[in-house]
């Protein structure tokens, strides 16, 4: 079910402010693409434009194309609600629904779109998703307890379970481990590695080692200066970007000379 994404000449605006300019990027199915770059260069903005979530900010809009398996998700007849049903997202800070149990958190997306639950038992989906997120063993005896009662790392895995329960075609992750301890971070990284078999994954990270460990492709974004739009400097196989980048700025960033 994993699908490819092609970003073509994408500009993203917040009102009058052009936050990102001229992004061209191919994201392969069943692979992990990492977005790296200094703070404010537009990584989250580009990521959120892939499921049109940036549109919830008043005045935000895009120019250019984002193709999901060849179909432009910004075509006039496309409803962003449907796009977000196809493209799951995991946020920087774990955000399980505080008023819902672990179980209800996992099936929240299925309850929105009944057709996705058709012919499946919710119990099975919950177990499969929690197993998929490596959380099943830890929570199987307390599914009715509130999701907010879990540790930060468990909450984040619950959010991943919630995202994969609807079997999305793409999974977007915005610094999913930055609020977590090293052990939980490794657990998330292992999980990303496993999820790659079924999903197209895009992950934003500030952690160079993490990008090197989990990703197949790396895209480096940079900022020409304050108030300038962010740009995609280069992208390519992670191995190449980390060992022999074409651009000087990439090399400087990766080796920690700035940013």
């Amino acid at each position: 079910m994993a699908k490819r994404i092609d970003i073509e000449d994408l500009d993203i605006y917040y009102g009058d402010f052009k936050a990102v300019e001229g992004v061209n990027l191919a994201i392969e199915p069943k692979s992990v693409t990492a977005f790296i770059g200094p703070s404010g260069c537009g990584k989250s903005t580009v990521l959120r434009s892939i499921n049109r979530l940036h549109e919830v900010i008043p005045g935000a809009y895009t120019e250019g194309k984002v193709l999901l398996e060849g179909d432009d998700i910004y075509a006039p007849d496309v409803d962003p609600v449907n796009i977000r049903g196809l493209i799951g997202m995991v946020f920087q800070r774990p955000n399980p629904f505080p008023t819902m149990s672990i179980y209800d958190n996992v099936v929240a997306g299925l309850k929105l779109d009944r057709s996705k639950a058709k012919g499946k038992s919710l119990d099975d989906v919950v177990e499969k998703s929690l197993r998929g997120a490596n959380l099943w063993e830890e929570v199987k005896d307390r599914l009715a307890k509130p999701g907010a009662g879990l540790s930060g790392g468990q909450q984040q895995r619950l959010c991943i379970a919630r995202a994969i329960a609807v079997e999305p075609q793409v999974l977007l992750m915005d610094e999913p481990a930055s609020a977590l301890d090293p052990i939980s971070t490794l657990a998330i990284e292992d999980l990303v590695h496993e999820l790659k078999r079924n999903y197209t994954i895009v992950i934003v990270t500030h952690n160079m080692q993490q990008a090197a460990r989990v990703s197949d492709t790396t895209a480096f974004f940079n900022l020409a200066g304050i108030g300038q739009p962010g740009k995609l400097v280069e992208s390519g196989p992670t191995e190449t970007i980390f060992t022999s980048p074409k651009e000087r700025a990439t090399e400087d960033y990766i080796s920690g000379r700035f940013g």
Partner: protein, 305 residues
């Protein structure tokens, strides 16, 4: 150190409030004793009010009924509209409309109740015939809406509508504040799952805001239960339990106290205070129930949001 001072200070404030409540309760009981002692009617079931007759004969049945039914009807009208308005302002209206609507609601919440009462008496009452007749014609099989005497003024129903309009801005303004507190991360979590705006409201906003909205509602209910002037102006102050709420009838604790206080003799005053004591207890109980509802959901509250 600073912490300890602050803890003690807040504890002191809490104790002070409790002591104050107890003092008010004790005062009311003390002043009500003569009325309880001399009453030859049944305080809870009698639908008459002659405390200064000899022997005194009175009861709060009609008052309790009028207070309860007018508040309940007011809540039924006001709460959905208030919450709907708050949601509209928070999640649907353009920024310009949201700002002006929010401003209007804040102003309306600050309008004194006598203004609402006068407006209800002078304006609303004249225009209520249509809707009350309609209620009688089409929903008359429900006793509540049946009108057997063909007069539609000075009714509990009109008082309820005025109460509803009066408490609506309060509930709406507070609910809007509560909805604004819902963290963006929760809203985005539901949107990212493919929720429409309404589904996002159901999934993330309402559950998170529920305790706050309950509190806002209780504040509104408290105001409706205790409202004096607006109701006193409109009602015909009859001492009877009449389920036909569109007929001229009805009375409430607060309105009765306001209307009777000046002409009351010693036992009359005591009887009015006794009725005030009941209102005080009802308000306390209502608030305790609200607390209980909120506490029951505590485990699933957004406290660590």
């Amino acid at each position: 150190m600073g912490d300890r001072v602050f803890t003690n200070l807040t504890r002191l404030a809490g104790i002070f409030v409790l002591v104050l409540m107890a003092a008010i309760g004790a005062f009311l009981v003390w002043k009500a004793i003569p009325a309880f002692r001399d009453n030859t009617g049944n305080f809870f079931t009698t639908q008459e009010w002659f405390p200064d007759a000899s022997p005194p004969f009175f009861g709060i049945a009609a008052l309790a009924f009028g207070t309860a039914i007018s508040s309940v009807v007011a809540m039924v009208i006001a709460v959905p509209v208030a919450i709907g308005t708050a949601l509209f302002i928070g999640f649907y209206a353009s920024r310009r409309i949201a700002t002006s609507l929010g401003f209007i609601i804040d102003v309306l919440a600050a309008v004194p109740s006598i203004i609402y009462g006068l407006w209800g008496l002078q304006v609303l009452m004249l225009h209520m015939d249509g809707i009350t007749k309609w209620l009688n014609d089409y929903l008359g099989f429900i006793p509540l809406f049946r009108n057997e005497i063909g007069i539609y003024t000075k009714s509990i129903f009109i008082a309820s509508v005025v109460l509803a309009i009066m408490i609506l801005p309060t509930i709406s303004a507070l609910s809007r504040e509560v909805f604004l507190q819902v963290p963006r991360s929760h809203r985005e979590a539901s949107l990212a799952l493919g929720a429409t705006r309404w589904e996002m409201i159901r999934m993330a906003v309402i559950p998170f805001g529920r305790p706050g909205v309950i509190s806002a509602t209780m504040l509104g209910l408290g105001r409706a239960l205790g409202e004096t002037i607006a109701v006193a102006l409109i009602l015909s102050a009859a001492f009877e339990i009449n389920w036909h709420i569109t007929e001229p009838s009805g009375n409430t604790f607060a309105a009765n106290i306001a209307l009777k206080w000046n002409e009351a003799g010693p036992i009359g005053l005591s009887a009015l205070i006794a009725s005030g004591l009941i209102l005080f207890i009802i308000t306390l109980v209502v608030n305790m129930i609200a607390r209980a509802i909120i506490a029951k959901h505590k485990e699933f509250s957004g406290a660590n949001g």
